[in-house]
């Protein structure tokens, strides 16, 4: 595939493994084995069976009739919110837990922002009987309380991170540090298409099932696929099998926060420049001195100052159009979906839905929105916004 990672771990200018020597053996081990394991028949069979019977895949591609009437186009929702644990994140964590078992790792660590990846990791670890430690920013622990309780009930230890902005970026730093200190028995399950090579590709391959299913479920090709982008795993999942179908317009929607003209935003591609964050070359929000800027988004899952290297590449070669919507626009889109379709979306996914407001349609357009997660975890934000 022309957009796949090359031997050196790069997508065009982006990617690579900017890691300290202490992590070199772990990354080498993963790099030399992940493709072989992912393509192994027994692995594929075990993962496929879990995705079907445990996660509930394939998730429906739902024709949203009233939303379609509202916009005058054909709008389909890819219902990742119906996955077990309530978001697409479980596609990745189940695959990586099976991978960790084959690498003989008994301890799993993860970072989480909104808590969806943390819950999905805790779930997969409970299922396989593995020790699970989740790093989460102190600020996120506060605003995503239900998911913190879920992780704990599932047997995971949640470690509060107080450095930096106390959000996803800092939780990721802390998980990387844990891995440096516990490399022999530990596998790090990164939750998005970020991090050092081979993680962006590993997570891409595990999330690609989303677009694989959309392709089978759809009669012909869609005209548009729209997904929200923080690190970018649900978006890559939804785009992957359409990347070479150049007629399909792919749109990634970043979190604009209070707006990209303010200093409260998380729209990395709109505001960032090239650099290395979490061990890969991509775009990131930074000062002229290369210090990472603390982002802002109402959505903890999109509150990240970087973006996966494949997205950076797809942006630069213009295969995907990246846009952004504000906190307010996302909230309005969430309410629209609740009232027109009876679905409470995650705040993250609401950013993708909000992009519909910015589109002009032909009545024959077939637009797929990746509804990456459900909104239970965001109830307090929705309630506060309504009052």
């Amino acid at each position: 595939m022309k957009y796949d990672v090359n031997e050196q771990g790069f997508y065009g200018d982006f990617g690579g493994a900017f890691i300290p020597e202490m992590l070199y053996p772990n990354i080498q081990e993963l790099k030399s084995s992940y493709r072989k394991i992912l393509n192994d028949d027994a692995f594929k069979k075990e993962l496929a069976s879990l995705l079907k019977d445990y996660v509930g895949r394939p998730t429906p591609l739902y024709f949203a009739k009233r939303l379609s009437e509202h916009y005058g186009a054909n709008i389909y929702l890819k219902r990742e919110d119906l996955c077990h644990t309530g978001a697409h994140k479980i596609n990745n964590t189940l695959g990586q837990v099976l991978l960790a078992q084959r690498l003989n790792k008994s301890r799993i660590i993860a970072e989480t922002g909104a808590g969806q990846h943390g819950v999905a990791t805790a779930t997969a670890c409970a299922l396989m009987g593995l020790e699970c430690i989740v790093y989460m920013g102190a600020k996120d622990i506060e605003r995503q309380a239900p998911n913190v309780s879920r992780m704990k009930m599932l047997g995971a230890e949640v470690r509060s991170v107080h450095s930096g902005s106390k959000t996803l970026k800092d939780a990721t730093n802390e998980a990387i540090r844990d891995w440096i200190n516990n490399q022999e028995d530990t596998h790090y399950i990164i939750g998005s298409v970020v991090g050092p090579d081979p993680y962006p590709d590993l997570v891409t391959q595990l999330q690609a099932i989303i677009s694989e299913e959309i392709k089978k479920q759809m009669d012909g090709l869609p005209t548009h696929v729209v997904a929200c982008v923080g690190g970018g795993s649900n978006a890559i999942g939804a785009f992957y099998h359409f990347l070479e179908d150049e007629t399909v317009k792919l749109i990634g929607v970043e979190a604009g926060g209070l707006g990209i003209k303010t200093d409260k935003s998380a729209a990395t591609l709109a505001l960032g420049s090239r650099g290395v964050l979490h061990a890969s070359m991509s775009y990131l929000m930074q000062t002229s001195d290369g210090q990472v800027i603390e982002p802002h988004s109402i959505s903890a899952g999109l509150d990240y100052p970087g973006i996966g290297p494949l997205h950076a590449h797809l942006h630069d070669c213009k295969r995907v159009l990246y846009s952004n919507v504000t906190d307010q626009e996302a909230l309005e889109a969430a309410n629209r979906l609740m009232q027109l379709e009876g679905i409470i979306p995650a705040l993250e996914s609401s950013h993708a839905l909000a992009y519909l407001e910015k589109m002009t349609f032909n009545s024959t357009d077939k637009i797929v929105i990746n509804l990456s997660g459900r909104g239970d975890k965001d109830m307090s934000t929705y309630i506060n916004a309504a009052t």
Binding site: M22, P25, N173, N181, Q183, V276, S288, G290, V292
Partner: protein, 256 residues
């Protein structure tokens, strides 16, 4: 020949390298601290250029980085401060790839040469990228790249690192973040006692988790010297005069 290479040439054992974070504890303390360390007999200094996301560092150095950034430290200001430091002590800078990349690598190397920096430690700079893009540049500006090795670094990789080095090699005492270990290093540590038998051409300085004078004596016995970071930063944090503190710290750690 650089000041760093001269020191390595003339002193073959018992080297002491002390790390300090530029901009910490106060914005303009760097020259005072470096000059005091020189007066106290330290062989070389490692100057940390603060970064918002130092993934290889433990809590102590993370905090010193955050404080320094809050104090308003910038790369340009650090180069200004380095001009005020005595030229007689060898200086290496330690930072992460992103600040240097954003500043511009060539510009960064130029500035280093101007202010008498002899070596650069960038722990997250991949060796392959260094060879492909920066080896020539470092040479042109008289800068020695300083690479880390760990107990897990393979033989082939050690050889490659030795070949690419031109000053010293930085051995981490165990695979960890900085300032992590508790309880000190043990005399029975086979990694440390095997360092001299690795057969490397360049001197080896051991860093990470050296917190007592016994630790220092141990690594100075098994390698060419030791590097102390977190322990010094901790020591500086509650002392009124960085100058006095630097001198006292060296006295205590060397049992001088």
């Amino acid at each position: 020949m650089s000041t760093l290479k001269k020191v390595l040439e003339t002193k073959k054992e018992g080297l002491l390298n002390i790390y300090c974070t530029a901009g910490y504890p106060e914005l303009n303390d760097l020259p005072t601290i470096v000059n005091a360390l020189h007066d106290a007999g330290v062989d070389m200094v490692e100057i940390g250029i603060p970064y918002s996301d130092p993934i290889a560092d433990g809590e102590t150095i993370q905090k010193s980085n955050a404080v320094a950034l809050k104090n308003g430290i910038t790369i340009d200001l650090i180069f200004e401060q380095l001009k005020e430091c005595t030229p007689d002590i060898p200086k290496v800078v330690m930072t992460y790839f992103n600040p240097v990349f954003k500043y511009g690598l060539e510009h960064f190397c130029q500035q280093c040469q101007k202010v008498g920096v002899d070596g650069i430690i960038i722990p997250d700079l991949p060796i392959g990228l260094y060879q492909a893009s920066y080896e020539e540049m470092f040479k042109n500006y008289g800068l020695s790249p300083i690479f880390l090795i760990t107990p897990q670094t393979s033989k082939d990789r050690l050889q490659l690192i030795d070949d690419l080095s031109s000053a010293f090699i930085y051995a981490v005492s165990s695979s960890s973040t900085t300032g992590k270990a508790t309880g000190g290093l043990s005399d029975g540590n086979t990694y440390l006692s095997g360092l001299k038998d690795l057969g490397l051409k360049h001197p080896i300085l051991v860093g990470f988790n050296i917190s007592t004078s016994d630790d220092l004596a141990l690594v100075q016995k098994h390698a060419h010297g030791g590097i102390i970071g977190s322990e010094f930063i901790k020591y500086l944090s509650d002392k009124p005069s960085p100058e006095v503190a630097a001198q006292q710290f060296v006295k205590e750690i060397t049992k001088g």
